[in-house]
Structures are given as structure tokens and as C-alpha cells.
């Protein structure tokens, strides 16, 4: 049993290839999460600003991105950009672009919610102390908003990591793609190949996402007690 598993992982460069796949998965995830935060935070602040025009536009963007499957967006950008507009972006750039478009939308909604859920009297009591508007933001609103925001951000991060295997379909050799290639070859001789390889991938995703979610719970607990 164990031999059959080991034989797969030591065969050729299989383990190294899985590692490279994992690196791609992590690279795409981190870049997308980072950019989503960079764009989502200002978008969310605009949405919470109570202005007339821009929040509506951003709302439309959020709703549009939310109802369309990420895979559709991925195909839309990967195939239509090159064929219709002859813009040739690498699959990597397209994947980060699409995950950012989606992630920034979700992030903006989290930021909006965390800012607007703050009771109005918190701002007011800050102002009553003589704090300027900017000081109220800095010392009263932002610290509380960040605490409210963090669980949602971490949740979104794990969701984005979990969604990256879609790049499989635009031929990026991420962890999942590599795994599938290995199973295809090894599966001819070893009927348990899919169990071992996909089981391994399962454990890798678990090992990445579970600590992240534990960390979130830890922070929540610390800020509550």
C-alpha cells in the first residue's frame, strides 16, 4: 500500500513538480489577495462615504462580479482579450487580474460593512472630546473597523486560495494541474494513484487554510476578551 504511494511521489520529478505547482498556487493567491486589499479598501471607504455617484457605480460592480462565476470571468478575460482585442496577457497575469477583480469587489463590501456598522455615537463621542474628524477616523473608527474587518478578510483569503485551482482551465500548472498530470501518467500502472495524489493535495490545502482560519479565531478571541 505505502509502497504504491511512495513510488508515485519519488518517481521522476513528481515531488518537485508538485512543489512548483504549490508555489504557483501560493504566488497567484498572495498576489490576488494583496491586490484585492489594495483596491478593495479604498473602494469600500468610498462606498461607506455616503456620496451619491461613486458608491452606486461600485455597488453595480460588486453585484455584477458577485453573480458571475469566477470561471466565467477567467475564460472571458483569457480568451476574449486576446482574440477580440489582441491583448496578449499571460495566463498568470489574467488569473491574478480576474481574482483581483473578484476579490476587490468582495473586499470593498467587507470594508463598507465594517465602517458603517460602527455605531454613530462612537464618532460623536470622539468629536465631543474635541478630536478632529481625521483624529476620530484614526483613533476611533479605523482601529474598530480593522477588528471588525479581519475575520471577513481572512475568510475571503481562504476562499481565494480555494478558488485558485480554476487556473487549471487556462493551463497554468498549479498544484491541481500538476497533480492531475501525475495521476494521468501513474494511474496507468497504479490504480490508487488518484487517491494518493489528490489526497496529498487535500492535505496541502488543509495545511495552508486551516492555520489561517485558526489565526482568525485567535484574533477574534483576543479582541473580545
Amino acid at each position: 500500500m505505502l509502497d504504491s504511494a511512495l513510488s508515485i511521489f519519488v518517481a521522476g520529478r513528481n515531488l518537485a513538480r508538485l512543489w512548483e505547482g504549490l508555489e504557483i498556487t501560493l504566488w497567484i493567491s498572495l498576489a490576488s489577495v494583496g491586490l484585492s486589499i489594495a483596491f478593495g479598501v479604498p473602494f469600500g471607504l468610498v462606498m461607506a462615504s455616503g456620496r451619491r455617484f461613486w458608491p452606486k457605480i461600485l455597488r453595480l460592480y460588486l453585484e455584477a462580479v458577485r453573480v458571475v462565476p469566477v470561471l466565467v470571468l477567467l475564460f472571458l478575460f483569457y480568451y476574449t482579450l486576446s482574440s477580440a482585442f489582441s491583448v496578449n496577457l499571460s495566463a498568470y497575469v489574467v488569473s491574478v487580474l480576474v481574482f483581483t477583480i473578484w476579490g476587490a469587489a468582495e473586499m470593498s463590501d467587507l470594508v463598507r460593512a465594517s465602517v458603517t456598522s460602527l455605531p454613530a455615537h462612537q464618532r460623536e463621542s470622539g468629536r465631543a472630546l474635541g478630536l478632529t474628524g481625521r483624529q476620530v477616523d484614526l483613533y476611533v473608527v479605523v482601529p474598530q473597523a480593522v477588528r471588525r474587518l479581519l475575520p471577513g478578510v481572512i475568510n475571503l483569503t481562504t476562499r481565494m486560495i480555494k478558488t485558485t485551482p480554476f487556473v487549471f482551465f487556462i493551463n497554468i500548472p498549479d498544484l491541481m494541474k500538476v497533480g492531475q498530470q501525475i495521476v494521468e501518467v501513474a494511474g496507468m500502472r497504479n490504480h490508487l494513484a488518484s487517491v494518493w495524489v489528490y489526497g496529498f493535495i487535500f492535505l496541502v490545502y488543509f495545511a495552508i487554510c486551516y492555520p489561517v482560519s485558526l489565526f482568525s479565531r485567535h484574533l477574534e478571541g483576543r479582541w473580545q476578551s
Partner: protein, 265 residues
């Protein structure tokens, strides 16, 4: 009149130096006129208690005094300085006018000391060690020295309100506004907050208090202001007001109170 400005007034009454002067204050929310020409003077060390039925405008009056509500017309003067002119730096005025609200509005992400120090350190730019000594001595005076590092969620309602009072006091305000600070408290916590306020009154702090605690009003007030429908209907010394109110409306208001007091027993 300015030579006595920084002296606390004698216990139990103003000494004549005027801290606050309000003339013809008008404030509307949409069509509804909430304050309909309020004129009022408050002198140094005086304790004013404002009472009246819900919606009579008493909370709005306090909120106008530190600029949380912009006024429609009229004039407010703080120690001779008109603060209702356009271009008033309200952040500066608010350091001189302390306010405590009905709902515990401590900042939940800061501990007690952090809450108290935010004003002195960030607004008044005082040195932290010195501000901290000051804050701790105030906390001790309201019986909360041992809670300096507690977070608001670990405090009772009464303790939170005492911290809120200290937070306003450490700014050394020239006048303190209390807006129904015991209205959300459980009955057994009302007393500890009122005791603190009574102590402050005895020390000669100038205060305007909006409250529904009639016994407290009578004990603490130098002058009772009775408001109804956005106007001051009657103002008089507390004993006179509670024993023989001049106006029919004040009589009716106090009767309602008597009734509900009796029914509660």
C-alpha cells in the same frame, strides 16, 4: 468679570461670573422646531438641571452647546466668546465644554486609561506621564483606580458612565453637560453615578444636567429649568419648583411623575 473665571465658585451656587450666555437659540429638524428661542445664562460654579417631557428639546439644547447640532439662529457665548459665528473652531470649543451622553460611549478597543487619555494626549497634546497621573487621580476619586487597565466590556454600566465622566473631566472643561447619563442604567447603578456628579457639584464645577431623576435634581440643582415644546417654561430654585411650580404645565409634568413614583412602589 474675567478675574474670577478660573476660580471654582462657592459650593452650592454660582458666584456671578458668567460662563455661558445663550440668546434666542432656534433649532429645527426639517419642519419641526425643536428649540424655539431659548435664552439662558449660566454662571461660574452653577448647577443647572433641565427637566421636561420627552421631546421637549432638552437633549438638543445640550448638543447645540458643543456644536454636535448646528443651530438655525441665535447666539451662544462661552466666557464672553461668541461660539456660534461661522468659522468657529468647534474642536477647540469642545475641549472647554465636556459632555457625557446617555449611552455608554466609551471606545471599546481602548482600556479605561486609553479612553481617558485620548483627549488630553491627542487633542490637548499633553505629555503622557503627566496626563496619566492626572487621569489616575481622577479615576481614584470616582472609585475606579483599580479598573484603569480594564476594557469597557468588563465594566458595569455604572462604572462605564463614571469613566465617561472622568474622560470628559480630564480635559479640564469650563462647563460640563450631562445628557440623561443614568437613563440607560440599571436602578442599582444609578446611585454611584449620581454620587459622583453630586461630588463634582459640591466642588464647584459648572454643570448643566438633563435628567429624569427628580430627587437628584432637587438635591443637586442651584436652579431648575423646566422646558416644554422647545421653550423654557419656568426657571426657579429647586425647592420652590418642586413644592409649588408656577406654571400649569410644570404642575402637570410633576404630577405625572408623582403618579408613576407611587405606582412603582
Amino acid at each position: 468679570m474675567n478675574d474670577t473665571d478660573n476660580q471654582p465658585g462657592p459650593a452650592g451656587g454660582g458666584n456671578g461670573a458668567r460662563v455661558l450666555r445663550i440668546r434666542d437659540l432656534v433649532k429645527s429638524f426639517g419642519e419641526r422646531r425643536i428649540l424655539d428661542g431659548i435664552s439662558l445664562d449660566v454662571s461660574q460654579g452653577e448647577v443647572l438641571v433641565v427637566i421636561g417631557p420627552s421631546g421637549c428639546g432638552k437633549s438638543t439644547l445640550l448638543r447645540c452647546l458643543n456644536g454636535l447640532e448646528p443651530i438655525d439662529s441665535g447666539e451662544i457665548e462661552l466666557k464672553g466668546e461668541v461660539i456660534t459665528r461661522p468659522g468657529t473652531d468647534w474642536n477647540r470649543v469642545r475641549q472647554r465644554v465636556g459632555m457625557v451622553f446617555q449611552n455608554y460611549e466609551l471606545f471599546p478597543h481602548l482600556n479605561v486609561l486609553g479612553n481617558v487619555l485620548l483627549g488630553p494626549v491627542k487633542v490637548q497634546r499633553r505629555k503622557r506621564p503627566e496626563a496619566e497621573r492626572d487621569a489616575l487621580s481622577w479615576l481614584e476619586r470616582v472609585g475606579l483606580a483599580d479598573r484603569a487597565s480594564s476594557f469597557p466590556r468588563q465594566l458595569s454600566g455604572g462604572q462605564k458612565q463614571r469613566v465617561a465622566i472622568v474622560r470628559a473631566l480630564t480635559m479640564s472643561p469650563e462647563i460640563m453637560l450631562f445628557d440623561e447619563v443614568t437613563a440607560s442604567l440599571d436602578p442599582e447603578m444609578v446611585r454611584e453615578v449620581l454620587d459622583v456628579m453630586l461630588g463634582l457639584a459640591r466642588q464647584g464645577l459648572t454643570m448643566i444636567i438633563v435628567t429624569h431623576e427628580m430627587a437628584f435634581a432637587r438635591a443637586v440643582a442651584d436652579r431648575i429649568i423646566f422646558m416644554d415644546e422647545g421653550a423654557i417654561v419656568e426657571q426657579s430654585a429647586p425647592d420652590g419648583f418642586f413644592e409649588s411650580p408656577e406654571s400649569e404645565r410644570a404642575r402637570r409634568f410633576l404630577n405625572i411623575f408623582e403618579f408613576s413614583e407611587k405606582r412603582r412602589e
